[in-house]
């Protein structure tokens, strides 16, 4: 493996450790213990503290926490007695992954089509329309849009189930709500990239060879414009994760996001921290993957030495 990959891997690990450590100490700083319940007497509290290892010195707790983490153990839920955070996450991940993946695929596809046509018909009515749509999609908060979808499509017109999770049709509205920002982001990004590539000298070279417009666009413009879209995957992933936190709440999707909101209400700190950590790990891993993928797609990037000129 090259130095570049090693360096990226190094950063990834440091970032993970920083996040995990920060999470641990933040948990220590939380107002009161998780069990500040008046009905518990001191003996019960001590027992609970002992059970969760909260009576040991902080350094020991930290080391134990980190070694558990390495083994994928995120601790136990403070509210659901006897259930580990890992269990909660693995039960809840399915629906989130499904709507997240659907939104990513759908959003990227629509975004690509919009962005490419917009750039090819630069300054046309179509271009202006898609630019306007992109600005709206990026600006209107996803929960406002989701609420509108639920109200009109779900409740008023009754076209699709407005909430709950009982079959495939229940995934459609949450997916749509999640994909709006993806569509807007991808469309905007690809449009800028395309316009940038179209004005490059090598496109002129291609035209000067006598290639027709279609070949110039497909062979020279599209490929060069699409490669950087890979770099959008990281930001898009985080966008979708952010989105699931509110969208699942709105559409009552039994996913991680809904669990998160529930845990916030009942102060189940260990689950909140667990989901937060899980999302960070996922995100950081995505960024790392994107780096590798980009290196494979763009011949100028040599995985040993980073990007070269030209």
């Amino acid at each position: 493996m090259g130095a570049y990959l090693l360096r990226r891997l190094g950063y990834m690990l440091v970032t993970l450790i920083v996040i995990a450590t920060a999470t641990f100490f933040l948990m220590k700083m939380l107002p009161g213990t998780p069990f500040n319940n008046d009905r518990l007497n001191e003996q019960q509290l001590a027992n609970l503290n002992a059970k969760y290892g909260l009576d040991q010195p902080v350094a020991i707790q930290y080391l134990k926490y980190m070694s558990n983490l390495v083994q994928g153990d995120l601790g136990d839920s403070y509210k659901y007695v006897g259930r580990s955070v890992t269990e909660v996450i693995s039960e809840r991940i399915g629906p989130s992954a499904l709507i997240g993946f659907q939104a990513l695929v759908l959003g990227t596809l629509i975004g690509l089509v919009l962005g490419v046509t917009s750039a090819l018909r630069h300054n046309s009515v179509l271009d202006y329309t898609s630019v306007t749509l992109a600005v709206l999609g990026m600006s209107i908060p996803s929960f406002v849009f989701a609420a509108l979808l639920q109200y009109y499509v779900g409740l008023k017109w009754g076209l699709l189930p407005p909430a709950l999770w009982k079959g495939y049709e229940y995934t459609i509205l949450p997916t749509l709500a999640l994909s709006v920002t993806v569509i807007a982001t991808v469309a905007r990004f690809i449009r800028t990239e395309m316009l940038d590539v179209i004005s490059q000298d090598y496109v002129l070279t291609a035209r000067a060879k006598g290639l027709n417009n279609g070949k110039v666009i497909i062979r020279h413009v599209l490929r060069n414009a699409l490669i950087p879209v890979v770099t959008m995957l990281g930001p898009l992933a985080i966008n979708i994760m952010t989105g699931t936190l509110v969208i699942e709440k709105i559409f009552s999707v039994p996913g991680l996001g809904e669990q998160f909101s529930l845990s916030v209400i009942v102060n189940d700190y260990s689950v909140i921290m667990g989901i937060t950590l899980f999302y960070s790990f996922l995100f950081i891993f995505m960024v790392f993957l994107v780096d590798i993928l980009y290196g494979l797609l763009d011949p100028r990037i040599n995985l040993r030495g980073g990007k070269q000129k030209g």
Binding site: D201, T205, A208, G210, N212
Partner: protein, 339 residues
């Protein structure tokens, strides 16, 4: 050997910007013979690159418009060509080499494929044949290990090598005309000479016509049989290279030559820059565009643009000093010692 392959008549090109229209090329005429090298010189913004691109109809149609004139290639006006005919012309009959080899190659496509693309477009070849031809082209332009290098990406080449690849792409289909738009400006001096020699030797073999766009008079002296001097979208003087260098007739040409260091010149003679800078082409008045910077400017120059004067068979210039009525003014300039 004396047949004219390309002739441009009264070409006018305008640029449509958001808030104004710029006349980038204002009535340019010249011709090119088989095996001949014509240099077009001028400062940046003089319209030389725009003229060059128009010869292949490569100007973006959204913002540029050829408002007048004709471009005849082998007696057919390419301005009247259909898009399909234009595509058949580009790369096969007329080719172009661009200024910056760092940006004129597709960074994500192997160079072999970039050369083969043009070949496959214009000739019926199998993949293997196209590949073989691409290797030949790389050898022709002096790239060592052509068989291996064909699989390389542009970033794996130096600037000079890249320009060789660009030339290989341009020459792949043996065009009749090669337009080189400042082909050596972005390169090191030593590499410049190699690239120019390469173009010269290819020209000797194929008898193609070469239009060399440059602002470097040294390159002109070395390469071209004829020179056209452009200023703000017009050709102010055109003629055989030797004559232009030894007996320039337009004040701008004179200025250009005086501002260039020469090995054969008297060392005592200082270099003289042309005062001022080229005017904004969107704000040109009615008179001669060079008048504000011209040391021999007359009243007439401010109000009327000078007509073209034919000094001899080949040498033409547009300057009021060549009007008989300017005799008196010339005497004044002579008395001042400036003419």
């Amino acid at each position: 050997m004396n047949e004219t392959i390309l002739s441009v008549e009264n070409l006018r090109i305008s640029f449509h910007l958001q808030d104004r229209v710029i006349q980038a090329v204002r009535g340019v005429s010249f011709s090119l013979k088989k095996g001949e090298t014509l240099a077009i010189v001028g400062e940046s913004g003089s319209g030389k690159s725009v003229t060059a691109k128009s010869l292949m109809r490569l100007l973006p149609p959204q913002t540029t418009q050829i408002t007048d004139g004709s471009i005849h290639y082998l007696n057919k006006d390419i301005l009247k060509y259909s898009p399909r005919e234009i595509e058949a012309l580009r790369g096969k009959e007329i080719s172009m080499v661009f200024q910056d080899p760092m940006t004129s190659l597709n960074p994500t496509m192997k160079i072999g494929k970039q050369i083969m693309e043009g070949l496959v477009q214009h000739q019926t070849l199998t993949k293997a044949e196209a590949r073989q031809k691409a290797i030949e082209m790389l050898k022709l332009v002096g790239i060592p290990n052509a068989e291996e290098r064909i699989e390389a990406y542009p970033h794996q080449f130096s600037g000079g090598m890249r320009q060789r690849v660009v030339i290989a792409i341009a020459l792949a289909c043996r065009p009749n005309v090669l337009i080189a738009d400042e082909p050596t400006t972005a390169l090191d001096v030593t590499i410049q000479a190699q690239i120019l020699d390469l173009m010269k030797s290819v020209q000797e073999q194929t008898q193609m016509g070469l239009i060399l766009i440059t602002h470097d008079l040294g390159v002109v002296a070395n390469m071209a049989q004829r020179v056209a001097v452009m200023y703000t979208g017009e050709i102010v003087e055109i003629g055989p290279t030797e004559e232009i260098f030894s007996n320039p007739q337009h004040p701008y040409t004179k200025g250009l030559l005086k501002s260039m260091p020469r090995l054969d010149a008297n060392r005592q003679e200082p270099l003289v820059p042309i005062p001022g800078s080229p005017p904004d082409v969107s704000r040109l008045g009615a008179g001669c565009a060079f008048a504000p910077r011209c040391p021999y400017v007359m009243k007439v120059c401010h109000h009327h643009s000078p007509p073209e004067t034919r000094l001899d068979d080949q040498h033409l210039t547009s300057c009021w000093l060549h009007d008989q009525r300017s005799q008196k003014a010339k005497e004044i300039f002579q008395a001042q010692g400036s003419l």
